[in-house]
Amino acid sequence: MVEKGQISIGTEERVLMCGNEALAEAAILAGCDAYFGYPITPQNEIPAYMSRRMPEEGRVFVQSESELAAINMVFGASATGKRAMTSSSSPGISLMQEGMSFLAGAELPAVVVNVMRGGPGLGNIAPSQSDYFQATRGGGHGDYRTIVFGPSSVQEMADCISLAFELADKYLMTAMILADGFLGQMMEPVVLKKRPSVELPPKDWALTGAKDREQNIVRSLWLGEGVLEDLNFKLDDKYKQIQKNEVLCEEYEVDDAEIVVVAYGVAARIVSGAVTRAREEGIKVGWIRPITLWPFPTEQISKAADEFRLFLTVEMSTGQMVEDVKLAVAGKSPVVFYGRPGGGVPTVEEILDKIRQLTLGAKT
């Protein structure tokens, strides 16, 4: 079992904050030089907080004219070697996909926060987990990935964003926080602390003016025969390294479990409550909570599936992460799904009932 809160960065002074504000302050602590964003619910606390705090720190805040502009401002700031971020919610993140593809092609670091709401279309402003596919499959055009974190507490909102800045710089790519309206809005005690500094590759590619050196060029257009193919293979190698080195997940009472519930984000919080209650009823059930959604904890789930167990995936969607769970389980055990889309949030009772049904099903 992995210890809960394994990516926590300290336990000193606890403050009560909502997820969006904790994330914003943690980004400042992580050395974010510039924030660019456009208003959209349910993440408006982030730009509001940044508009006050960034100038206090002598850093940059710009309210952009659109999400398209916001992500391209991030692109520009990042190309000069600065740490830059944006945040939005589902429809706005769709607009940002063009820029995220260019960030991937140009190999620039960036941090993007998606506080998900219900979709498709304008959907609603209730919490949802329906952008999992978009986030974990790249999202924009071309052959690329982004690192995706699925925090499940206000503390993790803060912890994940500091790690996101670090990994974005380490691998020169976008790291995304995939939260939801619940996590953004709810208040919890949180400890805000700097991550210990690690050695990162120098940004000698940054555009700083070609003073006493040859010009630097940041580009994603490669017309020569085979050149882009080489770049795609290079990116793929990088993504494989990330899959090997950067997976984060948490497990609870999986060892003797007959049923394993897989959930992330706020859904995992509800699952945790249901599993505790089921254990009290004597049901042998545990859970696995991916913290990184890409790279996905495929190995951890596959290992759990080596013994015959029932896997239940719970999401606030009609079933997206469940496909990754099935890929990991690879037919070794049955995988069932329970989801509430369109802003629906499952209750502990609902999930508990589902677990009880599975127990009956397993016996018959």
Binding site: D33, A34, F36, V60, V62, S64, E65, S66, L68, A69, A70, N72, M73, V74, F75, G76, A77, S78, A79, T80, K82, A84, E98, G99, F102, A106, L207, T208, G209, A210, K211, D212, Q215, N216, I217, V218, R219, S220, L221
Partner: protein, 244 residues
């Protein structure tokens, strides 16, 4: 023998991929000369557009970035806000700036971003094969207006510089033409002024619109193309300083 003209160092010593008679080569040289004359190569960052000039970094020897179609003013904003001491310029065609990037240039001007924009207006989309641009002239035949631009259905040529000139955040706008030698000399003066504005931290955005040739998609000889700028384009896009 006395040297009366030579390549300026910031212009790379290589042939360009541009068509014979294209205005991009002239515009590149003028920018490189201005950068060298102002001595700002070491602090300048350029933004290449999507369009024929996407490979501009192969010709102008400064730090450069290639960005999505139309988004250069947003990218420039991100660069300038985080690097107020650097000189940031974008180089954008009429499809890039006046069509898909109309929102970005409007708002960069609206915010008064202290950047320099070089706007190449050749009245067509060049790289994609000569389609209608917002700046295409009335009745002009293009790949997507085979009977000529019908203003009743396709709109009149869009005068972006005039639109931007009304914004308080825009401090300097001038329209020049890469047609005759006197016009090219005026264009260089305008470019120099635009870069000086930024170097001197004059508040606001500076933009130079350059009427430029596209002989290939105008289906004209280079000589006729330069005449067409002076005789036809300047009627819709009058030359001169619009602001500042």
């Amino acid at each position: 023998m006395k040297t009366v003209f030579k390549r300026t160092p910031t212009l790379k010593d290589c042939p360009t991929h541009y068509c014979p008679g294209c205005g991009h080569g002239i515009a590149h040289r003028l920018i490189a000369e201005v950068i060298d004359e102002l001595g700002i190569r070491g602090s300048t960052i350029g933004i290449a557009p999507v369009g024929c000039a996407v490979l501009e970094y192969d010709y102008i020897d400064v730090d450069m970035i290639e960005v999505a179609h139309g988004r250069a003013p947003a990218v420039a904003t991100g660069m300038k806000r985080t690097n107020p001491d650097k000189i940031i310029f974008s180089y954008q065609g009429d499809g890039d700036l006046a069509s898909i990037g109309a929102g970005e240039i409007l708002h960069a001007g609206h915010r008064g971003e202290q950047i320099t924009v070089i706007f190449i207006n050749n009245a067509v989309f060049g790289m994609t094969g000569g389609q209608m641009a917002p700046t295409t002239m009335a009745d002009q035949i293009t790949a997507t207006t085979p009977k000529g631009r019908n203003v009743a259905e396709e709109g009149y040529p869009l005068c972006v510089s005039e639109l931007l000139a009304v914004l308080p955040g825009v401090s300097y706008i001038e329209r020049c033409a890469l047609s005759t030698t006197p016009n090219i000399r005026k264009a260089k003066k305008a470019l120099k002024h635009a870069f000086e504005q930024q170097r001197n931290k004059a508040p606001g955005l500076s933009l130079v619109e350059l009427l430029s040739t596209c002989p290939t998609y105008w289906r004209m000889s280079p000589a006729d193309a330069t005449k067409w700028i002076d005789n036809e384009m300047t009627k819709v896009f009058p030359l001169g300083r619009l602001k500042g």
